[in-house]
Every structure is written in structure tokens, then in C-alpha cells.
Subunit: 461 residues, 3 copies
């Protein structure tokens, strides 16, 4: 993981190479400068941005953040936002890296497919059932449809998907279903490169729908990589059916509008929550993959004045231990603050869900590399070890933070459990050349708070 | 491991740099294109190939696949084929990465050397023994020769060798002994680079024997890196002997023809198999390192119509847990198929041992990146997540697959435990815009088979 | 970890690119050569060197080894030497990688700050205490100063510091306190790049103090990355105090001379040693972080004729299991040797503490890549798998070796537990084309010794 920056380093070294192409300096000097520069990942100008690419489909839109931007490459992360219209289906696909997706708006049904897990759910049945009396399957030729577990998701849920696992998402609500997916491209489960690689089982993006600069290749489903004849013989299905698989819905893109009502079984939510807590050991098939980031009952940090933070980690969602990632959601009241701190363990990718937040980030040289008011729909990277502080705007702010570690640890500078509290007073006095009283002021500053700070006036009036 | 592609990325970005040297475009446009391209590992034209280099020795031949080929670099793997003539010795050496070697032909004796393990075997004794009565050592100055364990290997065996472990191989059979070694260059046990690095304890390749393009350096054994005088003093042996170690057999290359019959102790095979199953905890010294990939008794997949697959993983050969690699051997009947699937966990390096197999591979964009009939002696890479399907030729096929994971998992598309079976029928209908009956056809296709498909006619007549 | 060399590879490939800029060869040939060269990390000319950069401060000097030198990049390591004058303080800071620091001279007090650990030590108290009667704190406004644990260190101690952990060091002795810090930049705890990144909580290096070639940026403490107004509001402290934090001591650099005597609590050493052995499970807060590399009681290798070696690994200092690093200290008598061997597991960074040592290193091609008499204050890299042998100078030698593995394993070539002992005699005969007697000589050479060799005459008279 220490090599997260390899690709970005290459970009930099190559850019350097490019600039020398232009400036034409002698190779000796060039060689020297290269040695000085090549091994570093410049992260001295970060910025927040909305998605840079858009792929329109009949049933919705896929929006991508460009993972080749330096800070995304440096952190080895990628992000996609998917907008699914009512009664539309984000087609089955898998990705080359583990990911978390957050439901920003709406509700729907998600299916994850694990090879080897039983198909014990039946369509058109209102509840989970294996008793014949309750079976009212959507029969074709007398065969009731059985499939793997599906999960209901709604606003505030986060869903964990492992690399190579087929996943699909259906909007059965009344308004657009919006999910934001965060990917850990540098995860050890991904032995491929730092590109976002989506392998679709159906559909395909039309050439028109692809923005320029993302390559001229036509993205189609994986069946197009095989001879229709071979597939038909191998699967023992009509060649005509194989052709439909290959080309059938490519005009619709990656999200299709359904031409009938979908009727998957939807397990009762409460029942599901209960079963996940009753101590039965999880297998890969029964593993909980969903967590409600908006729950009030289990906030990890709560301040009556400042707001709350909900964390999802390997303790709350054990699959994260295997995926090596985690997340937190902050909900801050107007003008409340998030204390100065750094992450000891991970890069972070932050997406603002509501309101506006003023964020400052400093690098190892004490340089300010980020100072923006970030509004809803924008995303930014906080590199590991970089110090950061935030303050909600006049209407408060909500954001979701994706972390490239399953055991994230943060170190706050002032307040409860902070660095200043842990340092001997004399060290503070000598370090800052300040009086004993001033040193005590620093040690006692915000002594009741750790991360959430009550509203205060900001630097800009 | 997410950075397996770093080196290959560099090649690509540098090539890009090179091409711009020629085309002389402006640096701004160059910078933009670079950002688009640099972070990716192009794997859009794979091919099967025989070894590209040959090092002749008196006692045999070392053949290398060029690990700098893009797909080898991308997968972080390397491969070597060694042909050892009767009564010849592949000299003691170690490698910078863990490896599995497969015995393609012949039989012989292999020795692995673990520092700190006891020398409890004696030469010229027909069996393992520590009782004095049985000691009939090849005595010099009254000292019987004691050495570490040696292992008999024959056609179909696979042997696991950890990084930095000295290994030698002697052909005591009547025909050439041929082994194919697969190396996981990107393994975490290798902190060096993605080159195949062989450290020889004896011998050396003559300049003539080295093919062009592999660098002009003379490969000699490690003792040549030290002053003879210093070695002689340090080891307290005659300087003359040190000179022999350094230069003595360099004319013979890397495999020497023995000038007498070898008489290592060969532990009874059955006894060895038994002892490895009797529940005694393995130590690094007693660890089983060999597995028979041709055993009929323990096939993991078996089909009376299609053939069989033997897998060796950490459960069958626990050392693989530490090495992070595994393998499988497929034996397919004429025209039988290997189902469409992708690997969720690893890159694969496939070597065809017998017959011919037609293989197709598709990338994430649905592009066909490989479509070849691969015959005996050729090797190809299947990148992680890339879908693949295979069909044996008219005479059947056998191949051995090396995997860069100790817990490999594959996801089949149709058939038993497949993606299609796990998906709700309605999702299939909407995804492919097909009828309920067609969706059921896909769900029920090959329902009795998982990976092995009975013979079918292929795409090419 | 197999990608330790990514950055260095880039340097090489880019250099190649640069040279072609000059030579103007055709891109096809260039492409070919690139493929041959790009994926390798040349390590064919190693050298020992003193630090290359110096940052003067009022209270001492920070000296850096240039981590962009090829061998440092290849091994993914960095090193810094800090000289702290009496009653001076190396300011609180943290680093982007785990590190070990070795106390070369003097004594002092070190503080490590773990977020969430209790502040149970009180200043100006002669012992650890929580009973009110013993509290004689340095009160300000009636508040006694409480802080986290501090540790006494002196010559020969090694201290383990995890990535992101704030650490400070005060010299309370009479002579300069000198520590050498070894950093594992490629460690998985560091998701940033292969630069040495120090994040200071106070102070800053003046522009004058920075050597050329290290970039023109001014290194200041992290508070400079935030608006003073925002910090003052967030911390609820006077803006004037924030300004002092940001700029106050930047003139003094990174080590400040204290203007009064420091009086941290210093836990009784013996008590600390005892408590760390009494079987209480370690938590992150009580974890032992210090080990005496000069202890005679616990030498791992001892020879009355040759000297001794003290190893610190995860068994002696359990925190190393989490940090993935370890170290050993060798103390050789005049002209004694360190046997020919290679490391199976790690790169090594060697720093000579006393005397002089003659070292030879060979690469995989049998080429001598290092042959130097290394004297006090110099450092060199031994790449993983490269064979090496050493011999102390006429006055003996002491050196400290940092290793990029928490489970280091070495393989010696001759002597007890060696490769030669483990090989069948006949293999040696055939490999070197030597007589049975000579083969026995090699097997029996240095049979009483493993790594430490009694004094012998060297290669240079």
C-alpha cells in the first residue's frame, strides 16, 4: 500500500520528461532534477470537484470522477455517481476493486451475487419462505424462479461490495435513486491497475454517450468478447438468444428502463437487522453488507451543540475487515466545526451530501493545499497524514467520508484525547516559546470536545 | 498487490513519452493525454507464446519467457522451462520470488535447503534412518555425508519453493527431465523488482549461451562477487578451492552433466505421503512441498463426459498459504469445454502440457483480447477479472494454470452456482430485453455443470 | 512490497527517456530497449555515504541521507541523523512511515503521543504516581500538568515509532545526544509516497538552513497551513497565541534550545523493564517501545573470539509485529568476520557506529556491487537476496542494521546451519567439479560457526 502513488509518480516523472522535451535542457542536469523529483507525489494543490464525465442511458445517468486526476491517483481511489430513474435497472456488473456505495436519495433493491451461495429466494413472494404453501413463484414451464438474496436500500444506507462480485440495483421508488460509489483502486484485492474497471454482464454505453477524452473505445458487455457461435454451443441455447445478450440492450446503455413492474422478493427489513445481530456466525453467503449511516441510535460522536458522526467499520459491518475500507458520515449544525486532526492510517475521499462546508488542508511542509467552501455534489481527497479542519456553512452540512483502511485512526491536535493534552506543558512552552499560562490554555482548549466543535465564527466574514 | 502493474504502466507512459519525442506535439496536449493514459495497463492484445530465450548448458537447456512482455509485467509473473538431460544436475540456486514448478516429463530428485533445518539424511542409504546399523554413508575421512531432505519427483508433480530457498534438481531417469517454473514476481516476499532473478551457487552461463537483448552481462555464481582471498580466509579453505568454486564449472553453464552416478537417499514415496497426513504439525523443516497434479483419487472437478480438474491450494499443500500462490491442472476430453468465468482473486499463467485448446478472453470493455488455439509448450496470461472460456481440441488438452493467490475464487456465468442462476429472472429479462422463457433458458442452461462442459462443436468448423 | 522498486524503476525508465531525447534514436529501437530495461531496478553500484544534507537549528542539527538515491529508493528506506545539544528539544513531529531510532551517543527523554491514551504522568514528580500525596505538579491556575508517558533513553537504545505518532526528544545530559532514525518508506502503513515526510507541530526550518537541491519550499509547522483566525476561533484561544504557534519559533528551526531546565517525570527504568515482562497484556498505551541493543545478557549470537550480535525482533519488542520492521546490532572484535550470507526476507540499511568494517556485496549475476571499508557515520544498503560478507577493521567494528521485515531470516553459505552443510556432498562435487575431499572440506568449513567468524587476515594487506 506504500506504493499507492506509483502511478501518480509516473505521471509526474513523465510530465517532467515532457517539459524537458520542450525546454531542451542537457540530460545531466535533467537527470539530477529527475532524481530529486521523480519519487514524489506532489499533492500541493488539491481541489473539490463534481463528476467530470457523464454517460446517459435510457434509465438514468452514470457520472464519473476522473480517476486519473493526481489526487485520485495518489490516493488510489475512484468514484462514480449513478442516477437511476423510477422503475429502472442499473445493469448487473462487477468491478476490479472493492467499493462502498452510499444511497444519497431515493430507495431501491440491490442484488449481490456470490458464486456458490444458494438461490433460496423466490420472486413474487412477499416474504422469505421455503414452505410450499407460500410459494407463489412467477412460473415459467412450471419452474418457480429462485435467486440469491436481495436487499432493500434507502437514503442513508451504505452497501459494501467486494471486488469481482456481480451487483445490480433497481429503483422501485417514485423519485430518482442516487447512489455514490467509492472505490479503493489500490486495494490488495485488485491486482489490476488504478483504472475504474466496470465489467458489465449486459447492456453497453453508446458511442454518443461517451464523453471525449475517455478513449474512443465502445464499452459493451463481456459477452461481446466471445464468438456467438461458441457461446451458443457452450451454453446450449439458441444463437439468437446469445445475439440478444451481446447486442440486445446496448442502445439503452448501462441503466435500462424496465418495461414491466419488478417483483423481487424483499425481505422484511427489521427481520434482516435482527438476524444479523443474533450471534449466528456469518458466512460469505449470509454476510451483512448494508449499514444505515443516518441512524440516531448508534452515533459514534454526538454533540447537542455541534451535530453527530456515524462511523461504519469492521465491528459494525464485519465484511469491511476483508475489504480493507470503511466510512463515516458527519452531520454538522450551522457553523459547527470538525476539529483539526490528521488520519494516521488512510486516505480519505469526502463527498458533500447536504449544505456547504469550509475545509482547510495542510501538507507536511505546513503549506495550505486546500481552502474551499465545498457544496453538495462535490468531492475532494484528504491525503493520509495531511492535517485538516472543517466548519459547516450557515445552513449546516452533511458529508460522507470514504477511508482506505478498515481500522481508521485519527489524531486530533487540541481537546480531549489530543496531542496537546498528551504533551508535557514545558514541551509546549519551549516548542512555541510561550508562557506557562499560554501552554495551559492550549492544553485545556476545547477540553470537553474531541472532534465536534460547537458553532464558531469562521475566518471569512 | 494493487500495484502489480506499476512497471508495465511505466513502460506504457514512457513509450508514450517516446512517441511524443518523435511527433513533437505541444506539451500541454501531451500532458493531457498522458493523464488519460498513464495510469492504465493496456491488456488489449494478449498472445500465447513459447519461451523467447535459450541458455544451452552441457547438461541441458534453460528456456525463459521474457518477463518484460507487457502481459507478464502486468500480471507480475515470470516463467522458465528447464530441460535436464539424464544424469545431469540443475545447479543449486535460489530466486527472488516464490515459485511453483511442474514436472512436465521424466523424473528426478529435488533438494530444497532451509537454513536451520537438520541434516538428517545420509547419502547411499536406501531409506531414511537415524539408527547406526543402517548408516552406510559415502565416507570421506571417516565422515558420513549428512544432508537435508531430498524429494523424488516425477511427471505430474508440482513443487513449491519459497523465495530465497536454495533448490537443485537431478535427473536420474532415462529421458530428459522437463520442468516448468512459474514465478510470482509481484509477491510480497519479493521486495526486489519484477525481474526474474536467479542467484546461482555454482556454475555460470557462458557469454555465447546468452541470447542477445538480455543484456551483455555475464551471469556467474555469487562467489564471483567476492575476493577469492577473502573467501579463502573466511572459510578457512585453500584459495585453490575457492577459485574452483568461482570459475570451475562456468563452462558447463547452469546444468552440469555428472561424471559419476548420483546416489542420494530417496525417501520412500508412500511413507512420505503417509507421514504428511498423520496430523503431525508441520514445521518449516518437515513441510510438504510436493503435490501430484495427476492423481485421479482427489480430482476436484470430475465429469465422465468432459474430463477433470485437479486443484492444489493451501488446504492440500499448506505451504501455499505462506507463498500466496496456487495452481490447477485441467485434463479435458476432445472438444470438451471449460465454462465461461472470471477469476475474482488472481492473475493466471496457463501452460499447455498436452494437445491443443481454443481459448477466448474478453476485457472490461467487452473487447476480445485473445482468441487462439494454444498448443503444447505455449503459455499465456489471463488477467484478473477478465472473462474466459476454453474448448479442448479434437485430441483433448491438458494444461497447468498458475495463480497469484492462495485462495483463488472463480465466478462462472452459466450453470450450477453461476451468476445467471443467482439473478432474479426478471433482471435477466430486463437486462437482455428477452422473454421470460428465454430468461429461464439462461438460468437453466448447463444446470448440471459448473466448470466442465461435455464436448460441443466450436465456433470454427 | 514487491513494488518497492516502482519509484526507482521510474527514475530509470525516465532517465532512459532522457538519454533518448539527446541521442535522438528511432522510437522502435527505443521501445525495444525500454522494454528490456524499464522493469528493472539497477543495483549494480552501491556505495556507503554520510548524510548529504544538513539543517542547522539553534539547538542542534538534522542531517538527512538523500532518499532519492537509487539504492535508498530501491529498498524503500530513508534515514536521518539528529544531533541535539544539551538542554535542547527536538520539536514534536510525526512521520509518514514507521521508524526505529538508535541512540548513538548521549542520553535524553523521549515522548510518544498516542491518541486516546491517558495522561497519567505528572511533571516535576520524581516517580509515577496517582496518589494525591505525591502530586507536586507544576501548577498553573491550580491545574497540575498531566501528560502521556515519557521514556528515558541512552546510548545503545533503540526506539520504535509508528507512522503518524507524534514524538519529541529532549537532551537532558551533558553532551550532544545523537540519534539515527531509520524509516521504512515502503511500509504498508504509509500510503503516501517514498519521500521522507516530517510533519512538525512546532518550529520550522529557515530558508538559509535548507541545502540546495532539496527544493525551495520553506518547511514550517502544520499550523501555518490554516488561517490564524479560523484556528483561534476553533481552539477558542487568543489569535496572538495562534500566531506564536505558527511563526513563534521558526527562527530556531527544528531543534530549540530550552530557556529553562526541563523537569519531566522520568519513570524509574528498572521498574519499567520489570513491568514490561510481567505478563500483563500490552495495549497500544502500555506497549514497550524501547530496547537496549547493547545488553550483554541477551546477545543472540556470542563468540568469545569474534564478538556478539543483538537482535531486536517482534518477540523482544512486540510492537515490531505491527510495524513490520526489525534491527540487529553487531559488535565485532578486530579482524573478526561476519559470514557470507543473504537475507531471504528484507532489505537492510547498515550504519557503522564504531570502528571500520570491510564489506563486499554480490548481486544475482555474481557481480561485485560493493567493496568498501566503511567507517563510523556512514550508511549503506544491502538489497534483499544479495550475498554479503564483512570483516571488522584492525580496531573492531560496531554497526546497527535496520531491516524491512519483522521476521527476518538469513541464509549462511558455510558453517553451522549453512547451505553447504545441507547439500549432499555429491551435489557439491558435481557443482564445483571438485573431489570428494574438497566437497567435505566445504561442508565442514567453519562447522562450529554460523555467522560470527574468529579473526582472519583479509584480502587487502
Amino acid at each position: 500500500m506504500g506504493t499507492k502513488f506509483a502511478a501518480a509518480i509516473i505521471v509526474l516523472s513523465s510530465l517532467l520528461c515532457g517539459s524537458f522535451l520542450v525546454s531542451g535542457q542537457a540530460s545531466e542536469s535533467w537527470r539530477h532534477q529527475l532524481r530529486e523529483e521523480a519519487q514524489q507525489c506532489r499533492l500541493d494543490r488539491l481541489s473539490a470537484r463534481p463528476p467530470s464525465h457523464r454517460l446517459e442511458s435510457e434509465g438514468g445517468v452514470v457520472e464519473l470522477w476522473d480517476e486519473s486526476e493526481e489526487e485520485f491517483q495518489c490516493a488510489g481511489v475512484g468514484a462514480v455517481r449513478i442516477i437511476i430513474r423510477p422503475n429502472s435497472l442499473s445493469l448487473p456488473k462487477f468491478h476490479s476493486s472493492p467499493m462502498l456505495f452510499y444511497v444519497e436519495q431515493g430507495e431501491g433493491v440491490v442484488g449481490l451475487n456470490y458464486p456458490g451461495c444458494p438461490e433460496i429466494y423466490e420472486a413474487e413472494s412477499g416474504e422469505f419462505s421455503t414452505t410450499p404453501a407460500k410459494r407463489r413463484g412467477r412460473a415459467v414451464r412450471g419452474v418457480r424462479d429462485q435467486h440469491q438474496k436481495v436487499h432493500r436500500v434507502r437514503r442513508g444506507h451504505i452497501v459494501a461490495v467486494s471486488a469481482g462480485t456481480v451487483e445490480w440495483l433497481h429503483n422501485d421508488g417514485n423519485k430518482d435513486l442516487i447512489v455514490v460509489a467509492f472505490m479503493d483502486l489500490n486495494n490488495e484485492a485488485n491486482q489490476l491497475d488504478h483504472q475504474i474497471r466496470s465489467f458489465y454482464m449486459a447492456g453497453g454505453a453508446s458511442r454518443e454517450g461517451r464523453q471525449e477524452g475517455r478513449g474512443s473505445e465502445y464499452l459493451v458487455n463481456i459477452f461481446n468478447g466471445f464468438d456467438a457461435e461458441l457461446l451458443a454451443e457452450a451454453f446450449q441455447v439458441p444463437r439468437d438468444l446469445v445475439r440478444k445478450m451481446q447486442q440486445g440492450s446496448s442502445r439503452e446503455g448501462l441503466i435500462v428502463k424496465c418495461n414491466e413492474e419488478m417483483s423481487f422478493l424483499r425481505p422484511d427489513e427489521q427481520e434482516e437487522e435482527l438476524s444479523s445481530r443474533n450471534g449466528v456466525e456469518e458466512t460469505v453467503c449470509t454476510r451483512k453488507i448494508r449499514y444505515d449511516m443516518n441512524t440516531h441510535k448508534e452515533s459514534d460522536l454526538y454533540s447537542r451543540e455541534a451535530g453527530r458522526v456515524n462511523i461504519v467499520n469492521e465491528h459494525k459491518l464485519p465484511i469491511l475487515r476483508f475489504l480493507g475500507i470503511s466510512a463515516e458520515k458527519a452531520h454538522l449544525f450551522p457553523n459547527a466545526g470538525y476539529n483539526l486532526h490528521w488520519s494516521m492510517t488512510d486516505h480519505r475521499l469526502v463527498y458533500v451530501v447536504e449544505g456547504e462546508v469550509e475545509v482547510q488542508i495542510a501538507d507536511d511542509k505546513g503549506k495550505q493545499v486546500f481552502n474551499e467552501r465545498v457544496s453538495r455534489g462535490n468531492m475532494f481527497v484528504i491525503p493520509q497524514f495531511y492535517s485538516t479542519m472543517a466548519r459547516a456553512g450557515p445552513k449546516g452540512a452533511e458529508w460522507i467520508t470514504f477511508k482506505t483502511s478498515n481500522q481508521p485512526r485519527k489524531s486530533p491536535v487540541v481537546g480531549y484525547t489530543s496531542v496537546f493534552r498528551g504533551l508535557p506543558q514545558q514541551v509546549l512552552e519551549q516548542a512555541f516559546q510561550i508562557s506557562p499560562r499560554e501552554a495551559q490554555d492550549l492544553k485545556q482548549a476545547r477540553r470537553q470536545q474531541s472532534f465536534l466543535l460547537p458553532p464558531f465564527s469562521g475566518s471569512r466574514k
